[in-house]
């Protein structure tokens, strides 16, 4: 069981630190609030608290980089604190080269950049840079996030390759990153579901709240089911730290985000289609988060391949005697 006082304390301090529109400022505040200490002290709780705030508020302090770097540091000591990460994101067409990697904008002032050629953990290297300013923020589908796009590793002052032992901890680092993203996507989905449920109670048609119609109720119910199962999987993966569980959790978070977007927009109706409504901000963010560290379909394909090749022959996803390392949220929302 988790320490309630710790959760309350972290929730308060992290929420205050993230309350800045500028990601760079939020990041400085977050580090000053002891985020890295909390991460070292109780990773499951610190990650769940912070990434759920990021998901619910749409703020992003680049904390994903810290989660991954901390796992790599076990075999790659010089990685240290504060390295920014260039994530593989897009596969451009051969005849039309373009950006392949993204950096979280809160980390634009970083002096070191970890370049991940792909998600296999090979050829990782650190480049010394003077910030990531040379690249402009891309609008893309989520201009509010403002990812920094790169099409090749920057030519920095020096480049260092990962030590021999680093690939061995990459799998754990990737799993930890996927768990963090799952928490963030789930919190975003919960926020939309709460908004849609309130709206369904308030919006009247045919002389009654649309929440009285079973067709509307069932859409909202299905959304809660999808989010609750993704939530449970994120808790399971945070607790057992198994790569397979983390892949399942990230895939389920992607599914939950897609189900939530489809059903909630349908409940909001026309107003949800306008940018006056907040729906599009959450929707845009979920599309980007789903893509980071493998999207839902890629994860499912990969798990299917492992099964086909006999790699998951006795997998049971989570063991009964695994204690939840994060408190499980009850499946109800205050609509």
């Amino acid at each position: 069981m988790t320490d309630d006082a710790l959760v309350t304390d972290l929730t308060r301090t992290f929420a205050a630190a993230l309350d800045h529109e500028d990601g760079g400022t939020a990041r400085r505040e977050l580090l000053a609030a002891g985020w890295l200490d909390a991460l070292a002290y109780d990773e499951p709780v610190a990650v769940s608290v912070l990434f759920r705030i990021q998901g619910a508020t749409l703020r992003d302090a680049g904390a994903l980089d810290d989660v991954i770097a901390r796992h790599l540091a076990a075999r790659w000591q010089e990685i240290g604190d504060g390295v920014a990460i260039a994530y593989p994101f897009a596969t451009p067409l051969a005849e039309k080269p373009g950006a392949t990697h993204v950096v979280l904008p809160a980390h634009r002032d970083a002096s070191r950049l970890l370049w991940l050629p792909d998600l296999a953990g090979d050829d990782m290297r650190i480049v010394e840079v003077d910030g990531i300013r040379s690249t402009h923020a891309v609008a893309g589908i989520d201009p509010e996030l403002g990812l920094l796009a790169l099409s090749a590793p920057p030519t920095g002052r020096s480049t260092r390759s990962a030590p021999r032992g680093a690939p061995a901890v990459w799998e754990g680092a990737l799993a930890a990153g996927r768990v963090a993203l799952a928490h963030q996507m789930i919190a975003g989905a919960y926020t939309l579901l709460e908004m849609a449920t309130m709206y369904a109670r308030a919006r009247h048609q045919f002389g009654q709240p649309i929440a009285a119609f079973q067709a509307v109720k069932h859409r909202l119910a299905e959304t809660l089911v999808a989010i609750s199962s993704a939530d449970a999987a994120a808790v399971a993966a945070a607790s057992n730290r198994e790569p397979t569980t983390a892949a399942v959790a990230k895939a389920l978070a992607g599914r939950a985000a897609a189900v939530t977007a489809r059903n909630c927009l349908q409940v909001f109706g026309g107003i949800g289609f306008t940018v006056e409504h907040e729906f599009h901000r959450y929707f845009r963010r979920s599309l980007v988060l789903d893509r980071l560290l493998s999207d839902q379909r890629a994860l499912e394909r990969e798990l299917g391949r492992l099964l086909r090749e006999g790699g998951l022959g006795s997998e049971r996803i989570v063991a009964l005697d695994q204690e939840p390392a994060v408190d499980v949220r009850g499946s109800s929302i205050s609509g």
Binding site: V225, A236, L252, P324, S332
Partner: protein, 388 residues
């Protein structure tokens, strides 16, 4: 033999599971594994034989209160036994799972009956069944009409139940009967434990499309039931039913999800999968992952008494959709062998496939579960409707 004190304190569950798994593996040759395509008779016999061995070795006493013949300890120990046995195909289908639906509520609501009848049930000496649904009371359970007339020291029960799982193998039935006025809905229902051998009880198995006559119609024609067979309080049977539904929709899915994961692994081993199948197989695996993770949290929350009955509807929805998605794969990846082959294996896949079609109907339909989620978890019950 395992002793209760060994599994107290932190890490007790892990040690319990480890020792249990070791015992099951060591005894593998003596335990009964149902062959693919086995008949329901064989599956029931096999399950009961394994229950007997597990009880006699004391494993099945864990997690049940000492007052009814158990060893005490947290109920999550029972989930560990069910999972490990199911994963080894020692408990096929839902035969053993029914103990988890019916018995915990009996222990709470009728301890005297539990003292007498629980041990023979868990040891596989006798079966029990659940008399809830009626021909005109399916999703609308509160409209049930099977009547129990008060005759002083006993009731006289007349009416019909349907979908009574394994009634033909049962010595006892947990019956919901109308003791209030016909219009009393959920306020006039009483739960009682009735002997199936009582004069006036008739069982007629229904031949189902999965080729296993698991469900029956059960008729009651002036059946005398002593008042000592009361479960809970008179006219308070709805609460008893809701407690049982919490188990039916929550507690048993940890075990059943382990079985489904094994089924997927069997299917993958048997089919000639191609890379083009990866996405679909992976999707089914992730859906099972949703069920596993959710039922894992549910086990821990049920164990600490922090899970409400409506929340178990989420588990039920996940179970039905994961089970159907898994068996949707079977015809796709067995490429004609599923429809055509006369082998026991093919017959077993057909039976399971057909059974999975009912997963969104039994135990409260998918629509009822979604109503519960919306009304009680999203708080939409109070939303006024003008009606049409």
């Amino acid at each position: 033999l395992p002793a209760p004190a060994e599994y107290e304190g932190p890490d007790g569950l892990r040690r319990f599971r480890r020792d249990l798994a070791a015992w099951l593996d060591e005894r593998a040759a003596a335990l009964c594994v149902s062959a693919p395509g086995a008949s329901l008779d064989d599956e029931v016999a096999c399950t009961r034989e394994n229950q007997r061995q597990l009880w006699d070795a004391d494993w099945l006493r864990f997690g049940w209160p000492r007052s009814v013949g158990g060893f005490g300890g947290p109920p999550i120990l029972r989930a560990a036994i069910a999972e490990e046995a199911a994963a080894r195909r020692l408990f096929p289908g839902t035969i053993f799972a029914m103990t988890e639906v019916l018995a915990p509520t009996l222990v709470d609501a009728a301890p005297d009956l539990a003292i007498r009848h629980l041990a023979p049930y868990l040891r596989g000496e006798e079966g029990w069944c659940q008399g809830f649904s009626e021909p005109d009371a399916g999703s609308d359970l509160a409209s049930l009409r099977c009547r129990a007339v008060d005759e002083g020291d006993h009731w006289v029960v007349t009416g019909q139940k349907i979908w009574t799982t394994l009634a033909q193998y049962a010595a006892r039935i947990v019956l919901l009967a109308r003791t209030g006025s016909p219009e009393s809905r959920h306020r006039g229902i009483t739960a009682m434990l009735v002997d199936m051998e009582s004069p006036g009880v008739t069982v007629r198995p229904l031949h189902a499309m999965n080729e296993k006559d698991e469900f029956s119609e059960t008729f009651f024609d002036g059946v005398r039931v002593p008042k000592s067979r009361l479960i809970g309080e008179v006219d308070k049977g709805w609460q008893v039913a809701m407690e049982m539904l919490r188990s039916e929709r929550g507690g048993i899915f940890w075990m059943l999800s382990a079985r489904l994961v094994s089924e997927l692994q069997d299917l993958v081993a048997e089919a000639d999968l191609e890379p083009a199948d990866d996405e679909r197989v992976g999707h089914a695996f992730v859906s099972l992952g949703a069920l596993r993770a959710r039922t894992w949290t549910s086990q821990h929350r049920l164990n600490t008494g922090t899970m409400s009955t409506p929340e178990t509807s989420i588990d039920k929805i996940l179970m039905a959709s994961a089970e159907q998605e898994l068996f949707d794969l079977v015809p796709l990846v067995l490429n004609g062998r599923f429809e055509l082959d006369g082998t026991d294996t093919a017959r077993a896949w057909r039976t399971e496939y057909m059974y999975s079609r009912a997963a969104s109907i039994y135990g409260g339909s998918a629509e009822i579960q979604r109503n519960i989620v919306a009304d009680q978890l999203l708080g939409l019950r109070s939303v006024a409707t003008t009606g049409t």
